[in-house]
Structures are given as structure tokens and as C-alpha cells.
Symmetry: C2
Subunit: 416 residues, 2 copies
Amino acid sequence: MTASILELGGRARAAARRLALTSTADKDAALSTAADLLLDRADDVLAANAADIRQAEQAGAGATSIDRLRLNASRIEAMAGGLRKVAALPDPVGEILDGWRRPNGLRIHRVRVPLGVVGIIYENRPNVTSDAAGLCLKSGNAAFLRGSSAAIGSNSAIAAVLREGFAKAGLPEDSLVLVSDTSRESVIEFMRLRGVIDCLIPRGGPALIQAVLDSATVPFVIDGDGNCHVYVDAGADLDLALRILVNAKTQRPGVCNAAESLLVHQAVAGKFLAMAAGGLEGVELLGDDRARDIVGLERMGAATDADFSQEFLALKMSVAVVDDLDGAIEHIRRHGSGHTEAIVTSDLAAADRFTTEVDAAVVMVNASTRFTDGEEFGFGAEIGISTQKLHARGPMGLRELTTYKYVIHGEGQIRT
Amino acid sequence: MTASILELGGRARAAARRLALTSTADKDAALSTAADLLLDRADDVLAANAADIRQAEQAGAGATSIDRLRLNASRIEAMAGGLRKVAALPDPVGEILDGWRRPNGLRIHRVRVPLGVVGIIYENRPNVTSDAAGLCLKSGNAAFLRGSSAAIGSNSAIAAVLREGFAKAGLPEDSLVLVSDTSRESVIEFMRLRGVIDCLIPRGGPALIQAVLDSATVPFVIDGDGNCHVYVDAGADLDLALRILVNAKTQRPGVCNAAESLLVHQAVAGKFLAMAAGGLEGVELLGDDRARDIVGLERMGAATDADFSQEFLALKMSVAVVDDLDGAIEHIRRHGSGHTEAIVTSDLAAADRFTTEVDAAVVMVNASTRFTDGEEFGFGAEIGISTQKLHARGPMGLRELTTYKYVIHGEGQIRT
């Protein structure tokens, strides 16, 4: 008999109540115990993973899917290392965000507290099971996880080990609850568990995001696309611009903070686009007419409007020449996804206008878009990157897995 | 020809882009100009309101609905006063929330910025048109409003005056956009304008909230029910407890921060319930067996489980005797709505446990639940009280109508 999703959620809620009151030392000890156990039981996890992989291969899954699914000794070591690293981070819970006294003597404190139950829906990548459980536990939340059917064996094996580790350290094993029913119906039921899930973080492709928008009744934070631009201004140091552009596009093209589109001020377009066409060797370029005139129709195909809105996640880039800073800002407004936008310039006024007027989670001046990342921000770890404006924007670390409550002390005050 | 909702949303978005860059002084001047104009044009607004009232009366609306709908000179003065008061509040936009330097030299600032377009769906009460527009404008947001059909004449008249006032002061008239189509279809379309509305705040009854949960694709903050408890602990000063209880229940019973349920520690139940039954004269009491044994079956009816979860919004209160502090916390966990919970006690350990373990937006020690209010918190005004945990919890003022962006400055940093 498998438990219903509602029943599983109830267990996570009960665990969350205990976790909210658990000391930092006890949480850190549980993370460390779980990390030890994960290494001890690596063979069990790898055996379960091998079975998932065999099944995926038989089902004809592609090489990328298989690679995402595959664990090995070093990936398991990385998972254990991740748990230890989270244990070493400062505990966000209990921070006094602010506080003041009212004229009537009431003393108001705003205190950081856990969210409660954090629901995560994810596709493949079994390491998310461990990473998410670690971040949730450290921030005092229960992790209620729903992975993909292809990874269910691996996820279950990892979850079993971590639950045992948490219990061994005296914390509730339900600090991590994995849903084993991976049917389509169950995922919809999961995202409608209002009163059970305090925050849902879907991590997956556009179909999952659309399902959440259409069906979720629980509060959620969207970890969305990154159609990131690099804008090379008239006042840019062009060598520095090229270095940033090449890094932003090619250092890891398959991730959301990679640049997808290059905008160049017309005053430097002739010189810079020639540099870019050389520096981006191996990158397919799709440009507007002005860019193609400069670079040549051979080197640069024609970009459609859809290309400019596309997150390629590949060695492919759209290119446009803009009249001026306003043109760049307007282009980003039309095509950007609110993730990360960068300007390269030595002009202070242009930098200020760009950072003020561009509406995105992160705006960079003279730095690669690739820096939008919890680790690079110094958060120690991240659970995702929010492209929405409510609750959290940009990289989400431990702090973004919390909420606050007001604690008010009086001496009998009443309203009149 | 009326504009489509999508078209109206586009106008609000364009205005929001300008408002995000508007100085505090210009926003304050626009609020003041709009307040002046509202007083000048009071007769137009009152005429439109009289027509709405006539229609509501013909349609057989109840006295409470009619009262909510009705404007008079002093209500219009209050609306104008509200706009001036918001103008006098500090501008939240531009605050540096935090900032740090990374080892690679990147300088990161987290800067408070407007949300963009704030959508509000509300029922009756035409003053919301003005109150919401003022709070949104001050926080740099465009207000995209969808009121009820019964108030459409009043709302349209108020919106027209405010739009004219904003334009007169040099700001976009579309800083306030009111949807005139009040059909059921239009409200659903409104809450699905993803990419147009950055934050939706529904203000209305359970049917509206359910429609938002079922249909909204835009991010939203729920302004939910308040099933607020007053718990009188064994260590309470009973005179002080009575004063708080009577205030919390009776000072204004129809609002969300009024107390709906009394919990009393068994050690003081005999004495305190007798005091409460007297002090709450005119309040219908529904209790559990232990409470009824003390107070008498005449004075106190039997409470069902549903009564304990009910927000009465009336001179009616549920009462339970609990074994101890744990019993009170458990009762609140089962029946509370996460709004405001109060303990009356002189025992420091009990106060600490209550504030730590009770999961609500606001926990009070020795003060009336009625203090959960933006004005009482010192926010100057409020757009609602959030009972969810994401983004904002408790009273929402200007600060809660903002988000943040990361602004990062480098000197050519790339990732390796």
C-alpha cells in the first residue's frame, strides 16, 4: 500500500513543525550524518541508478537525458559534499529583519522563519533530491519532492539514505518526503495541495511551467528562461567587451545565464562585429540586416523576431545593431525574459541609465552574464533562479527559502 | 468602442515604465494634484455614486451592500486625505537593501524597485479605487483596477478625476487604468494576463479567492480570512486579559483582525470564563463542554468543529478550555488561518514558546489582535493583509508593493 499524496504531505507538514524549532547545531549534525551515510551506501544508490539507466536506454532515451540521469562515484561524492557545504553556511532562521517601537509602546519585531513545506517538482537529475533536501533542511523546511518517473529508482534510493541519516541524527525522517507516484495525475494533485505546500518551486521545461500556471493553487516561484543580452555601448572598451561576450556565450552555453543575444551600438558596430565574428568562432550567428551587412551574409544568417526571443541554450546567438542606448533598452524590453542583462561601457551615464531602466532580476555592468548564480553571489548554494518579481528575484539561496512573522510585545494595549 | 483588457493592460505597462523612473517629488506632487481635483469634482463623483445606489436599490441589494457602496462628502474628503497622507510617506523605491563585494571584485547591490503593474480586483467600496491608486503610484507602480459592476459608475468617476489629476501633474494618466468591462469573463481574463500584471491582489470574499486560485496565472498575494484567537494562559493577569479580549472581540467585530475564538488554560478557566461571560455581554458564545460547564448552558451554546474554524465577523465567539499551552498551540494549528494569534500571560517562557511555535503572520503577547493593521504598524497605509507566506506576510504597505533587482558592477570579470 502506498500512501496517498495528501497523506505524504501531512507527514512533511508534521516534520516541518519540528524542523522550525530545531537548533542550527542539530540541523548541521543531521546534514553531516546524512552525507556520511550517502557515501557508505553509494553502492545501493548506484545500483538503483544503473536500473534506471537500463530502463531509459530500453525506452530509447537520448544521450543528453541519459547523461543527466547518470550517477557515478564522483557525482555521489559531490552530493555528499553539497550537504556538508550547506551545513557550514549560516542559518537564516531567527534573523531579526527589523524592529521598532510604536508610540503606544508596542514593540514589533520582524523575524525570519522557515516557509514550512517546500514542494519541488523536477525532471531527471537525481542529485536534485539531495541538493534540495539539504537546502530545505538547513532553512528549517521539510522538502516534499516529486521527481520524474525516469529517475524514480535513483531518487528513491537517495531519499531512503537521507531519511535514514536524518533519523539517525534525531530529526524527523519526513524532513524529506519523496512522492513515488510519478503519474501525470499525481503531479497535478501535488500542485493543488493548498494548506500543505507553502511554496512550490518547479524545476523543468516550458510544459511543466505551463502546467503550474494552469493548475497550481499553492504559492509558487517560477525558475524561468534566461534570454540574456550583452549590449556593447558606444563607450565600451572593445577588447573587454569581446572577452565578456565570448565568456557569456561560450563558457557554458546550455545554462540559463548564458548570453543568447548581442546588441551593438551603431557607432562601434563596424569594428566590434568583426571582432565578435572572429571571437565567436563555432557559434552560429543570426542577425538583423545591419549586422549582416557588416559581418557578411555567409557568416551570419537572418534573424527572425522569434529568434530574438529565443533561449537557444546552444552555440547560437542572435545579433542586432541598435541606434543608441534607448534602442538597446527597448530591444531588451521586447525580447528579454527578465533574467540577466549586461552592458559593456566606460560611460558612467550609460551604465546608470541601463541599470536603472532595464527591468531584470540582475543587471550587470562590465561583467559576464554567467555570474548570475547563487555560488557566484556568495550564497553558498542555490535552489534556482527566480525570474518573477514576487518573493524572490534572481538566485535563490537559503534566505529565499524563508518567510517572516511579526512578533509583537505589549503590556495590555488595546485599540480605541 | 471600448479597449480590450489586454490593450488596457498594455497602457498600464507603458505607464509603469515611466513611473519606475519618476522622482519622489514628482509622484508626491501628482498625488497632491489628484487630491485637490477630487475635492473640486466631488459633485461629479457623488452624482455617479447616486446613480449606482439607485440601481443597486432597484436590484434589491441589502443594506450592508448599499452602505459599502455609498459615498458622501466626508468619504470623499477621506479619499483625498488618504492621497495626501501617502504623498507624505517615505518613498520605498531606490532603497539599497544590502550590498557586498565578491572576492573577484564584483560589487553587488540589491536595490528596491517597483513591481510594475499591480492588479487589484475588488468588490464594492469605491474608495479602494483611490486608495489603491495612491499606494501604487507612490511605490512607482501602475494601478490596474477591476472593481465590481455595482460600483462601476462611482469607480469610473473617481478614476477619471485621478487620471486627470496625474496628467495635470505631468505623470501618465494610465498610472491608473480601470477596467470598465465587469463581466465574469473579463475578471478571468484579467487574472490570466501573465506578462502584463506583475502582482495581483484580490480583495473580496471566498468566491473571488477561489476563482484566483483556480484561474490566475499571474503572481498573486492572498488577503485571506482572520480566524484570530486570544489565548489566556495560566500565568495571565486576568484583568488585563479581559480588557484585551473585549477589545479584540467587540471594538470592531466585522474586520479580519477581530478575535473569533477564546482559549483559556484550565487552571484559570473557572475564574476567567465567568469574567469573560460578563465582559462579553451581547456577544453570542459557543463553547466546548468544559467551557459550557463553567459558564452555564444558557449563556453558552455548543460549538461544533466548524464553529472553531469559522470567521464570524460578528458579535459571536467560540470558546474552548485547553489543558495547557500545548493544547492552545495545537488548537490554533488546527483551526487558525495564519492571520493573528494572541497570548495573554505574565510567564516569559510561555510567551516565548507561543511566539516561536505558533505559525501566523502576527503573534501578539499581551496586546489586542486588532493591532494587525498597516496604520497601527506605522506603515502609514495598507493595501491589504497577507495570510500567505510568499513575498509579504501580514499588513502590506508601500514596501510590500515593491520587489528588488541586483545591480552588479565589474571591470571585465568573466567566469572560468
